[in-house]
């Protein structure tokens, strides 16, 4: 499975548009044990990305993703600006200079994003953050690619795993981010970041 730069761009556009469309939903999720601004931060961030889109240097996939990253972490605040910005920046590094992305590249990008998020925020899997959807989803993608599935099937499997993993965050106690202040009271509600990963994965799978 190899996709061209256009596909990379269209996936990013899907992510951006989906975040803008889900501003209220994501914000409501963050109201439960957080401060309610997760939807606002992502929506304003990706609105900036969409606004800057035409001017971005897109000489290759990596350069394009780097511009997205700089917009997110430079202009967006909260926890999500640095976390999502770092994720895009690290992913960009993997495909710097490439204008096509192989299946191996995709997995490497996601692993690099995960490492970046961990380094930036100090979280590990199991601490009730977006990592709890992102890491299992990446595992699934790697496994299905190894099994020789086609791109469409991989995307659908990724979405299924991400959704199940996001739902499973309900059982976790938050140990990072604002939700952690509530201690045991964080158990029983899903993590907004993990749900966002699931929603984005589903939307990407639908529009593949």
């Amino acid at each position: 499975m190899t996709t061209g730069q256009e596909r990379v761009e269209s996936v990013v556009r899907t992510i951006a548009e989906t975040c803008v469309a889900n501003e209220t939903y994501f914000g409501d999720l963050d109201s439960v044990v957080g401060d309610g601004d997760f939807g606002y931060s992502l929506a304003r961030g990706f609105e900036n990305v969409l606004a800057g889109w035409d001017a971005y240097d897109r000489s290759d996939a990596g350069t394009f993703l780097q511009k997205v990253a700089v917009t997110m972490s430079g202009r967006i605040g909260g926890t999500s600006g640095p976390i999502w910005g770092t994720a895009f920046l690290r992913a960009a590094g993997v495909v710097k200079g490439k204008d096509a992305v192989s299946g191996d590249d995709l997995v490497a990008m996601l692993r690099a994003a995960v490492e970046g998020i961990k380094a930036r925020g100090g979280a590990e899997v199991g601490e009730k953050t977006l990592l709890d959807a992102l890491v299992p989803m990446t595992d699934t993608i790697e496994a299905r690619l190894a099994a020789g599935d086609d791109a469409d099937a991989v995307a659908k499997a990724a979405a299924t795993t991400a959704r199940a993993a996001a739902e499973a965050t309900k059982e976790l106690q938050a140990r990072r981010g604002r939700a952690s202040y509530t201690g045991e009271r964080s158990i029983g509600s899903v993590d907004p970041g993990a749900v966002a990963v699931a929603v984005l994965a589903e939307r990407v799978a639908e529009t593949w």
């Binding site: 109201s31 401060d35 309610g36 601004d37 931060s41 605040g77 600006g81 140990r175 604002r178």
Partner: protein, 331 residues
């Protein structure tokens, strides 16, 4: 939503513009980086002091920029840490030969933005130090968590380092002072109602007509527990019961006592709480040497209050007593 607001997305910039228009001689608003700075900054014979945080806590921190307190404040959107780039540009704009002290309330987003920004600022040759404020006793500190939050006690750190920097203290000295004040400052808050972020348009959480949130965060984060609303006397017992033993503050101590309004509570109720707390402390042998009653660090329109104690010594007291000229004034 019952608010004075145009497009909620412009809530913060429109507020900042208002601050600058009200203080044309002393303050400057830089829209590109969403910041308020002293018109005369940087002054190279003093360390510049910057505090950032989400908006919605006014007067903290954009209204306490001025002689004797901050040189600049770089707020993010409502309840969102400022973007890293804004922090960096703010530090650069006020960079003084004596260095820049960054004050940060200890939250995940703020911590990341300030750490990234100070790394980059150092790479650009700036002399930058960062100091985290974490006075909220409602949150237990442990290696498993992100640590305690910075809340209304940040006022005392800003005031003390602001005064010291005006007196010529260098960066190391300011860090020492700031850490010292932070280490003797403890706060806990109680919410009677939720707050409504302008862009959300509805209350951040629900609270029954007879309920209060004990240990609430200044972003509406749930606190230690939800409880039945009780009398002002019992509420002060609850707050002192959490704050006093934490340091602990002991008989013979001289303290500053702050009753901070969270935004929707009138100052009459704050003075009522103040009187009760003052007397209960006196009964424990703790003397209130300096009092603060009003709004210092709010949570939008939340009805509620926090109680802060600071252990005073001659050094801290002198710094708190020093004059300051800030936008948040009365006459």
């Amino acid at each position: 939503m019952k608010k004075f607001v145009n497009d909620p997305k412009n809530f913060v910039p429109e507020m900042l513009k208002g601050i600058a228009l009200a203080n044309p001689d002393t303050l400057k608003y830089v829209p590109e980086y969403n910041l308020i700075m002293r018109a005369d900054a940087p002054s190279h014979d003093k360390v510049s002091i910057v505090q950032g945080s989400g908006s919605g806590h006014e007067p903290a921190h954009v209204m306490v920029v001025g002689k004797g307190m901050l040189d600049a404040a770089c707020p993010g959107d409502v309840f969102a840490a400022p973007p890293m780039e804004y922090v960096l540009e703010t530090a650069k704009l006020v960079a003084s030969d004596k260095g820049v002290l960054l004050l940060v309330n200890n939250y995940t987003g703020d911590k990341m933005a300030f750490e990234m920004a100070s790394e980059l600022a150092e790479a650009e040759g700036l002399d930058v130090r960062t100091l985290f404020i974490n006075d909220d006793v409602a949150v237990q500190d442990s290696t498993w968590t992100v640590g305690r939050r910075g809340v209304a006690g940040n006022f005392f750190v800003m005031k003390a380092v602001g005064a010291a920097s005006e007196q010529g203290a260098d960066l190391d000295e300011l860090v020492r002072i700031g850490e010292k004040v932070n280490s003797v400052t403890r706060t806990m808050g109680i919410a009677l109602t939720p707050c409504t972020p302008p862009a959300k348009g509805s209350p951040l959480f629900q609270l029954g007509d007879d309920e209060m949130e004990v240990g609430v965060g200044i972003h509406g984060e749930p606190g230690r527990r939800r409880a039945k609303l009780v009398s002002a006397d019992e509420i002060v017992d609850e707050l002192l019961g959490a704050v006093v033993p934490d340091l602990p503050y002991a008989s013979g101590d001289d303290v500053a006592l702050m009753i901070n309004g969270l935004g929707g509570t009138p100052i009459s109720e704050l003075y009522l709480l103040y009187g009760i707390a003052h007397e209960k402390l006196a009964a424990q042998g703790v003397t209130v040497g300096r009092s603060y009653v009003g709004e210092y660090c709010t949570s939008l329109d939340m009805a509620g209050a926090s109680l802060t104690l600071v252990q005073l010594d001659d050094e801290i007291r002198a710094l708190l007593e020093a004059p300051a000229e800030i936008a948040y004034r009365v006459f």
